[in-house]
Amino acid sequence: MASDKIIEARNLKYRYPDGTIGIENVDFELWRGERVVIIGPNGSGKSTLLLILGGLISPTEGSIKFFGKEKIEPYELRRKVGILLQNPDDVLFNPTVREDLEFGPAQIEMPEEEFKQILHAVTQMLHIEHLLDKPPFRLSEGQKQKAAFGCVLTMKPEVLLLDEPFSAVDIETKLSMIRHLNELNRQGVTIVVTAHDISVVPLIADRVYLLNKHVVAVGKTREILTNVELLRKNGLDAPPFVEFALKLGLNPLPLTVDEAVRSVRKLIKSGGKEKEEANESD
């Protein structure tokens, strides 16, 4: 992981015009090449924080540095940071999917040849070639989410900020989006995702922020997701495999299917001795 800091936010506060506090006392850091997931219950300020991190709204209080700069030109920010809003209906405002995919690259003056290559790659990757000439309102929710995702990808950002990208998609689309995001991350794209569905977090996070108006906890994915009490206290469920492993008394707690399978196999092989040893050491 490269060592340069992409976003550094200090003491962020956002108050809505009606006086409601969106977030307060939020510190946030993002390093190049990271995969960060912001989790929290509904109304915890995840989307508000993401809009601030994307430079779309300014915090009421606090400071934010992008790429080490106190002030960044909107043009530079938009070229480097792509943000996907929560509702694809807000993102897809053009008459056809093709024009929506083209909108961003045209605004940032990406050369047309480069755009054509990216368009080809993105539409193939997301399997949306057949949707290009369709009006967005004729698409299914999953197709809309893919098209909206494509709108950000065609801008070839260095940083991807995605607001609840898996909330309205089926399991197949969700897994394929996760695969694409991880592939992009391997190619060097930094990723920040907000989610309230904890089950996807282990598949896509190196680090997790638990937000509930303020940052309740921040740490490595395993560290946060295995703290069942902390999650429950903040209106979230632990990942199903953590619950499963806790009931079985497994140690360490698995976060994914593969980890769970490994732990159970180990337990079976040891004939339950491992569990007893783990319990004793606890």
């Binding site: 809009l51 043009y75 807000d90 053009n94 008459p95 056809t96 083209e102 045209a106 755009f115 309102f137």
Partner: protein, 265 residues
């Protein structure tokens, strides 16, 4: 009131479909391949000819010309005609009183009221003029993507402010019609009979729609900003080259101008 809601929902759906007719703009047809500047200038010229002529035969000819271009441009008539048909119909309804009000040589009498030849000619000319103009502008909308149109307007040195307002209006209108559709559908899904509906409900819907319009506008603006919008719609240029179809189109428009001059003699 329930019927009114449904009608309103259907109208907004139709309008949204009309605005989203860009699927035909990407087909490989005659007018789609014509140079954008030539197409825009030519169609605006045809509209000017339609406005300035008093000859119903010429207007009819213009209308036939538009319909033949529609066929050449691979736009199905069943898609084209319904999308602009209601505007001429509305125009005919508005102009009908002139059948009875225009003075001149009596043609026949209807329910004791005399209808004059001049009145018939006026209504016919007015209706045909509106139909020919709408047919021509629909040709443009069916065969041109809005982003291309904005680009062409800009390259024709139309004031930037006008082009921007046009672009924003188009994009917001599209989103707002979708919003209105969803809202009306949401209302219909919770109504079991027309009983209990009132203009009061209608007023509430209108007020809510206005609020949602503001909220939607803000969200779409954020989505535009997120993709680099900085107060000016930029687009990739398309089809600015000249080809045989462009020359053919210019020749046809020139022929229409000559014909117009002949009708003035």
């Amino acid at each position: 009131m329930a019927d009114f809601t449904r009608t309103l929902r259907e109208i907004s759906g139709l309008l949204r479909d009309f605005l989203a007719a860009e699927e035909y703009a990407s087909r490989k047809g005659f007018l789609q391949s014509v140079n954008q500047k030539a197409k825009l200038t030519g169609i605006l010229l045809l509209i000017a000819l339609a406005i300035s002529t008093q000859n119903p035969f010429y207007l009819f000819f213009l209308l036939l010309f538009s319909l033949s271009i529609v066929i050449l441009s691979k736009i199905p008539l069943r898609a084209y005609l319904p999308r602009f048909g209601f505007i001429p119909l509305f125009a005919f309804i508005i102009v009908i009183p002139w059948l009875f009000l225009t003075e001149g040589e009596p043609a026949f009498s209807l329910l004791g009221v005399e209808i004059t030849k001049e009145g018939i000619m006026y209504v016919l000319t007015f209706g045909l003029r509106v139909t020919a103009c709408v047919a021509a502008i629909s040709l443009l909308l069916f065969t041109t993507r809005v982003s291309d149109l904005l680009y062409t307007l800009r390259s024709l040195k139309i004031p930037e402010m006008f082009v921007e307002i046009l672009g924003i209006t188009y994009r917001y209108l599209f989103s707002l019609l979708s919003e209105l559709q969803k809202m009306l559908l949401g209302k219909e899904s919770r109504v079991v009979s027309a009983k209990g509906n009132s203009w009061r409900t209608g007023a509430k819907i209108t007020a809510n729609f206005m609020l949602r319009t503001l909220s939607k506008g803000e969200k779409v603006h954020k989505a535009m900003l997120a993709r680099g919008y900085s107060g000016k719609f930029k687009t990739y240029p398309r089809n600015q080259g000249w080809n045989a179809n462009s020359s053919a189109f210019v020749a046809i428009v020139a022929a229409m101008v000559v014909l117009w001059l002949l009708t003035r003699l």
